[in-house]
């Protein structure tokens, strides 16, 4: 039986009070609840404060480039469909630099769980606006606030018919752990946008700010109802719904590739007889 301790305890490079701590705790809980052992899990991350998270968990890690975790995760899933692949990165990583890959991952429905640590700011580079920063969010780079409207990832994902779309909040850690567990269990792409405070650079969307607004979706909410999901996607200013906003079963991407059905590509030797036949066709 896998235990919380199996996922280790690490010193972090995060600021005291940062929401990332709670997210890592929630992830650990979800992994344990999913009965996954460390070596069965691969975390892929980009660059940013959030993207350091996998270093604070005992598991396989590919900590790649800013914004590029989804393609890495996609490649890893295709090469080894036995790995449980989880992306952890920030709002800047996934919605800014990596925006194009998010669109592609949703369209592919690759079986990767994507945890977006959404603090509405670029943390590691010291507080510029991120794609989710709100109007009027003043920074050194944006003295009059962002020049663009915030990116509504939930709305875009639902509009694209993403197969699993959820929102969590670091301050509701158990609820979040539950969401992550569902996302991990989901067959196909799952997006969990996780709101969390950045105590150093986001003085607007603080813990209290989130706490006041966030509420769990009611028990009778039907995440398979597209219209309802679209509506929930726009709730923000006064009240922010937490939970699985939308869900729709689709065959995952990996199933479209015959060789993945035979397990990890790594074990598959060159079939010399087949190769000879292939070459024969050029004679």
């Amino acid at each position: 039986m896998v235990k919380l301790e199996d996922y280790g305890k690490y010193e972090t490079a995060w600021c005291p009070g940062c929401g990332n701590f709670a997210i890592v705790e929630a992830v650990k809980k979800a992994l344990v609840a999913s009965a996954l052992e460390p070596h069965q899990v691969l975390f892929v991350s980009g660059i940013g404060q959030a993207a350091k998270a996998p270093h604070y968990l005992n598991a396989n890690v590919f900590n790649g480039l800013h914004g590029r975790s989804l393609p890495v995760a996609t490649g890893a899933r295709l090469a080894n469909p036995d790995l449980k692949v989880i992306v952890q990165s920030g709002d800047g990583c996934n919605y800014g630099e990596g925006g194009n890959h998010l669109l592609a991952a949703i369209r592919r429905n690759v079986d990767v769980t994507t945890l977006v640590h959404d603090n509405l700011v670029y943390g590691l580079t010291k507080g510029q606006a991120s794609p989710t920063s709100e109007e009027g969010f003043v920074t050194k780079a944006q003295p009059h606030g962002p020049t663009a409207e915030p990116f509504n990832a939930i709305a875009v994902a639902v509009a694209m018919g993403a197969s699993f779309v959820a929102r969590g909040f670091s301050g509701e850690t158990d609820h979040l752990a539950g969401l992550i567990e569902q996302a991990i269990a989901w067959r196909g792409f799952s997006l969990v946008d996780i709101l969390h405070p950045c105590v150093s650079f986001n003085k607007v969307n603080t813990f209290a700010w989130f706490k006041k607004r966030c509420y769990p979706l009611p028990a009778d909410y039907d995440p398979t109802d597209f219209d309802a999901a679209m509506q929930k996607a726009y709730e923000w200013d006064e009240r922010i719904p937490l939970g699985v906003v939308y869900r729709k079963e689709r065959d995952p991407f990996e199933t479209r590739f015959a060789p993945t059905a035979r397990g990890p590509l790594a074990g598959q030797e060159v079939d010399r007889a087949a190769l000879a036949k292939v070459l024969e066709r050029y004679a």
Partner: protein
Amino acid sequence: MGERELTILIGGEAGQGLATLGPILCKSLVRAGYYVVVTQSYQSRIRGGHNTFAVRASVDEVAASGEAVDVLAAFNEETVGLHRGELTPAGIIIADGAFGVEGEDVLAVPYEELAEGRYRNVAALGVVACLVGLDEELVAGVVEGYFGKKGKAVAENREALAKAFAWAGALEPRYRRPLAAVERPAERLTLNGNQAIALGAVSAGAKFCAFYPMTPSTSIPLTLVVHAEEMGLVVEQAEDEIAAINMALGASYAGAPSMVATSGGGFALMVEGVSLAGMTETPVVVVVAQRPGPATGLPTRTEQADLEFVLRAGHGEFPRAVFAPGDVEECFHLTRKALELAQKFQGPAFVLTDQFLADSFRAVEPFDVDGLPPVGSYAAPAEFAEPYARYAAAESGVSPRLLPGMSRNLVVVDSDEHTEDGHLTEDLDARVRQVEKRRRKENGIRAEVVPPVYEGPAKAEVLLVGWGSSKGAVAEAAADLGGNGAKAATLHFPQVWPLVPEQFVERLREAKRVVCVEGNATGQLARLIRAETGFEVGERVSRYDGLPLTPEYILRELKT
């Protein structure tokens, strides 16, 4: 009797079927026992414009295309105007009688009588094939191979071919240009450079390719797609080139020998990923099919101007190997070698080809499938220290690489500088150790360099130096010089990085006149040789008009 060698040029618009007929003609020639070298020239459009498919067919082994045309098969009138000047004195033009082209050298074909509209192409093929002395049944077999054996179209094609052979067979001898008879050899393959790269990769165990379409690289993944299921490959079209290389790195990390193929602009987008491969020490083969730049340039033409770019691509310092195949066989074997080195030394290995070679069909001796040495994955070594550390500071620089999920050992890789166990670090001593560890891999890579090939007499009067796809042209130019009494030699680089000066610098020093022949404007290999050896190449032959280097071009430039 007959000709020992002929160049057949088929010209017409895009969409007229050159891209199908050309390969059929090639395969027929190869099956009949001739050697071929193909040069394809096309424009960045789907219909119209002017394209050519030129086959130099020969009784003897040839490795370069020539400029003179013996048989000009014109699919439109424009072709006649554009290429008549290239005809040899005895050259003939095969054109639709309907074009009304006149002249001694013109064979007007009544295609209308030979076949219906969509089968006229095959009729044209039949006429050409017959005139160069190919056997009808042989050609019919090749056509069947392309179009399948069943259906109405097959019968119609067969009939058109028969009529064409009958018609052409009845012509006066002055229209015939039969190649000298050869004994039909054991089976050979007809492959172009890109097919050979794809097949080389597959034969070496490549299991993953991500790509974003880009001429002239696209036929590599497309060839892989054809064989994906039988060979257990995953090939995926990515949303962009950045995704392509990052997918390949993810797949490689997880254990699939991986590759990407692209061209200059697409490669530009992969550069950050190349650096990531260097830092995480993830094997990946990157094929760059060159075309003239900068930017979009001439997307369907050829050039050799990305050598320095590929060599220095990526921020920071990390080892790499860069191969530059000179012919179709080298495409196959050097791609295998690139895969091997990428796996063995855990990082990026490059194959630098170009449009000319990518599209150049040749006759290739069959590969000894059972004899091909297996390419190691070098992952999951039997021995490593516990607890497992992905970047343990091995003496060779090559740390033990395990695969995630394949054991209880955790595989942690990081784009940040890292400790031996793969976690990001701010420890500057750890940094230094990792820099030095990575650099030590250079020794291993150096020890496996494919040396440049010197051909010709020692202490040459003229030494022609080249790399990559110009191999055949350079060799033939030197042979020509030699034929005229000069002591001419060649030095061909199938691998352009690393360079090991001891392997070749004496050859440069002892030659009287050293000329670097390159398909670029600034002399990139010449500069590289000087950087690595101090030797200054005195003369250069440069080509940058989008066409491949030919023996004639080199000889012309040498004279001026």
